[in-house]
Symmetry: C2
Subunit: 170 residues, 2 copies
Amino acid sequence: MERILLLLGLLRQHATHGYELTAFVEGAMSACVDLKKPTAYFLLDKMAASGWVMVQETREGNRPPRKTYSLTTSGEAEFQRLLRINLAAFSLPKLSNDIGIAFVDAIDKAEALALLQTRREHLLTQMNQTQHAPQHAGSLQLLIEHQQYVLNSELAWLDTVILRMSQVAT
Amino acid sequence: MERILLLLGLLRQHATHGYELTAFVEGAMSACVDLKKPTAYFLLDKMAASGWVMVQETREGNRPPRKTYSLTTSGEAEFQRLLRINLAAFSLPKLSNDIGIAFVDAIDKAEALALLQTRREHLLTQMNQTQHAPQHAGSLQLLIEHQQYVLNSELAWLDTVILRMSQVAT
DNA sequence: GTGACAATAGTCAATATTGATTAATCAGCA
DNA sequence: TGCTGATTAATCAATATTGACTATTGTCAC
């Protein structure tokens, strides 16, 4: 559902073709959303079938022919509907990727601490990358700020875990 | 990959059947992991095919017959391997579910603020639920603590967004 | 002893997702 | 002109995921 909201929102800013859309999402937005090219095309098809977007074969300059997608009136309505649902509902991202911390005690304490240090460095690297990321227009920028905020608080949490682990008796 | 780590980790604590596994994951752990019953069975099959778990038809008491899964030696090895990878790598949960904030400015400010207030209440409800959740054993408890920590920082962030929005001129 | 209801255990058809690959066009150069 | 590699644009086969459903066993009132 969120992916459709994203696509509708982007097409709302300006009609465009699949390639530009997916390049933007997999490029500039790759840090905050997970939406691969084939999924995007799959969803665009669905959206077309639902009448939310219009497809048009176009040929700009000497580029290969493209399918250009543009929002219809009912697409705008659906966007407004989904946006309200999305803003009003809070749902925690499922932390399945952090699942390892549930099993740290399966590893010798010294090695576990070393692994967590590596983790910490990865986190710092990501913080750096995000800080040097290109600025986005309007409230898209909020996404980036949120991400930086989350990275900061993840770092703080990781540090308390590391601290606790190194203090507790083996 | 993380889901397999989770299943291996749980089976490592004690061998059990699909029903108990999925009931636990979809019940007590539902707040922090997203793994539905059919996916769990699908993965258990794969794990059996890879030789990481052994399947055994059992019949305890008068209950319907079950397939009991237990970790093999190579399953334990795989668990250790995946655990190290998971602990050492940090990856941000993709915030696709927060995507709406990227489009707040498509909505009239007053309504947007009202929606965000609703969002805030949902968040508070979740915090309450998590605080009254049953305690987990060992480092599984860390997952819960992490979740509470994340909820707290999400609340703080949401409040800054609301504050900023209500101050900025329309 | 049997019919209704709950609990237990799992499956399946439909849908979503992705890594790998294909297809069309262009720019430059021999 | 014809060939090579780069860019643009999209698709496909394989895999993962899930909502809805099925099937088995127990239990308890009647």
